[in-house]
């Protein structure tokens, strides 16, 4: 598992960093297979962009919620952060926008969750629409998405804007 994770990190970096793929191949010599699918859904004062893995396992949800202060949160299974102390610094990364804050943990019917919240701003909404990748860091651990398809990002950003009372980004 740790081997796969290590290579995963490197592959993500290769894909993200290499300007000349012909010299630093970013594709392993195999046919890639998707790990899951993205679902955009709205309702009951929330809009969600959720990654549902095909084979079970790791999951991540980006959620906008109405309220006195409309919030954006990133939520995932707590197992990735199990060894991270409660007081550890956390950050949501939306593309190259980093928002610092604290991690919250909670028990639900479907398992233990870790999440971080931040108020929705116009800057954040614009970034949600344009950023391909999202990430939750806490201590030494992280959960990161692969590239989120543009259609799904657009739809989600539009729903978030409507919930938060901003113009569509």
């Amino acid at each position: 598992m740790r081997r796969a994770l290590g290579l995963c990190i490197v592959c993500a970096c290769l894909a993200a960093c290499s300007p000349e793929p012909q010299e630093a191949p970013s594709r392993t010599a195999r046919e890639a297979v998707p790990e899951g699918r993205w679902i955009v859904a709205g309702g009951a004062g929330e809009a969600a962009l959720v990654f549902v893995p095909y084979g079970g396992g790791k999951e991540i949800a980006l959620i906008c919620a109405m309220g006195e202060t409309p919030t954006f949160r990133v939520e995932t299974g707590d197992e990735a952060f199990a060894a991270v102390p409660d007081a550890a610094a956390a950050a949501i990364l939306v593309g190259d926008l980093a928002i610092e804050g604290g991690l919250t943990r909670m028990a639900t019917e479907a398992g233990d969750l870790a999440q971080m919240r931040t108020p929705i701003t116009e800057t954040l909404l614009a970034q949600i629409r344009s950023a391909e990748r999202f990430r939750l860091n806490a201590g030494d651990a992280f959960v990161a998405t692969g590239a989120v398809p543009e259609d799904e990002r657009d739809a989600f950003a539009g729903q978030c804007a409507a919930l938060a009372g901003f113009a569509a980004p």
């Binding site: 081997r3 990190i9 592959c11 290769l14 630093a24 990654f51 893995p53 990161a144």
Partner: protein, 399 residues
């Protein structure tokens, strides 16, 4: 019910009741790798309850919850789909079906296929009756997929296909292939078409590619004068690249996690505590203890370096060719680590199969063998060292 929230709660209650009644208890346990259900004309169900579970889910169209009902899908809205997924998670239900048809080909067919093709193929995918494989890469067209050369000629009432595909996962077990072929050699991307054919067609031959770890889904597929009905062209002639691009978007859908103490699995420390002789809480073998500590420090340093590079990339301070440095370091570090794991386990790392070894022990052995490929796949260590020499260190080519 006019209120959408109430509708959704009604759906949740109904889904919960149905799942409680139809998901066998045996399907609510962690799934061993050999109990994965891929379906197909000759499906295997190592766990008999898996068949029951697949049939139940397929009867509701819930193996493809969002696909339209007329093609066998569940016809669910996005919100209902999320509710269904959360209910499945709540009871820890196993996925009823693993399928390239569900994950890749089906969504593309929904978008690009004609009505007859959708009616022919989608319901069988939902029920797991046909297993699909993807014919994309070729020996000379991997990274540059659009360079593919598999020739597809118009013979009047059919197409004739000749060429070779490689790294076709599970081609030897698949029933049908969705395949990129070249219908025009005068243009690059516009000369590519997307066709479907039955793997039982005359002229289709698959050969597994064996890997040292003993398990490999990969195959070579040889296509020699394969006759393909014209109805099996998806989209327009020469329009295959658009479909391929769409499918590649599905491929990229993933997430990753990492860190220390994060992800479970056997670590060097776990293995040392379980297998190495200890005295007063310390490993007796001081040399091995030192090398394990060194490896753990190197792992941590590497992870933090990669994390820093990723942050720099996000801040538009591109790390460029440093990616080659990371690839070389990751490969050698992982190979060293798997060697250490073997050494720590002693004779327990000599297993290949059989009752004398636990599955996690066998996995360590196979991971060690699998790690041999790390310095080849994704750019060999030699190629990456050349990049480092030229682009990072600025050395000249040998004259």
């Amino acid at each position: 019910m006019a209120d959408g929230t109430m509708d959704l709660e009604g759906f949740r209650a109904e889904a919960r009741r149905w799942l409680e009644a139809h998901c066998p208890p045996a399907m609510r346990t962690p799934m061993p790798e050999d109990e994965v259900v891929w379906g197909g004309r000759n499906p295997t169900f190592k766990n008999p309850h898996a068949k029951e579970w697949l049939e139940a889910m397929a009867s509701r169209g819930w193996t493809a919850p969002r696909w339209p009902k007329e093609y066998g899908g569940g016809g669910l809205s996005a919100q209902e789909d999320l509710v269904l997924q959360s209910e499945l998670r709540r009871i820890k239900a196993r996925p009823p079906l693993f399928s390239f048809g569900l994950w890749m080909f089906g969504p593309a067919l929904l978008e690009y296929g004609d009505e007859a093709q959708k009616k022919q193929h989608l319901p069988k995918i939902v029920r797991g009756e046909i297993r699909w494989c993807q014919g994309y890469s070729e020996p000379g067209a991997g990274s540059d997929l659009a360079a593919l050369q598999t020739k597809c000629e118009d013979k009047g009432d059919h197409y004739l296909v000749n060429g070779q595909k490689i790294w076709t996962s599970y081609a030897n077990e698949a029933d049908w292939m969705f395949c990129l072929v070249r219908t025009d050699f005068t243009v690059k991307h516009e000369g590519i078409s997307f066709i479907l054919f039955d793997m039982r067609s005359e002229g289709v031959e698959t050969r597994p590619i064996k890997l040292i770890s003993g398990s490999s889904p990969f195959c070579e597929t040889f296509l020699t004068d394969v006759k393909v009905p014209k109805d099996n062209l998806v989209g327009r002639l020469g329009g295959g690249w658009d479909i391929a691009k769409r499918l590649l978007q599905y491929e990229r859908q993933s997430i990753s996690a990492g860190g220390f103490g994060g992800a479970g699995g056997l670590t060097l420390v776990d293995l040392a505590q379980a297998y190495a002789p200890m005295r007063d809480g310390r490993m007796v073998d001081g040399d091995l203890r030192g090398r394990i500590a060194e490896q753990l420090m190197a792992d941590r340093a590497f992870s933090l370096t990669v994390q820093r590079a990723a942050e720099m990339a996000k801040a538009n301070q591109g790390v460029g060719h440093m990616a080659s440095v990371f690839k070389v370091a990751a490969a050698s570090q992982n190979q060293r680590k798997t060697e250490l794991m073997l050494e720590t386990m002693g004779a327990k790392a000599l297993g290949w199969k059989g009752a004398g070894f636990k599955p996690e022990e066998l996995k360590v052995t196979r991971d060690w063998l699998r790690a041999k490929g790390n310095s080849i796949e994704g750019g060999t260590t030699e190629v990456n060292l050349n990049v480092v020499a030229k682009r990072v260190l600025g050395l000249r080519d040998h004259q």
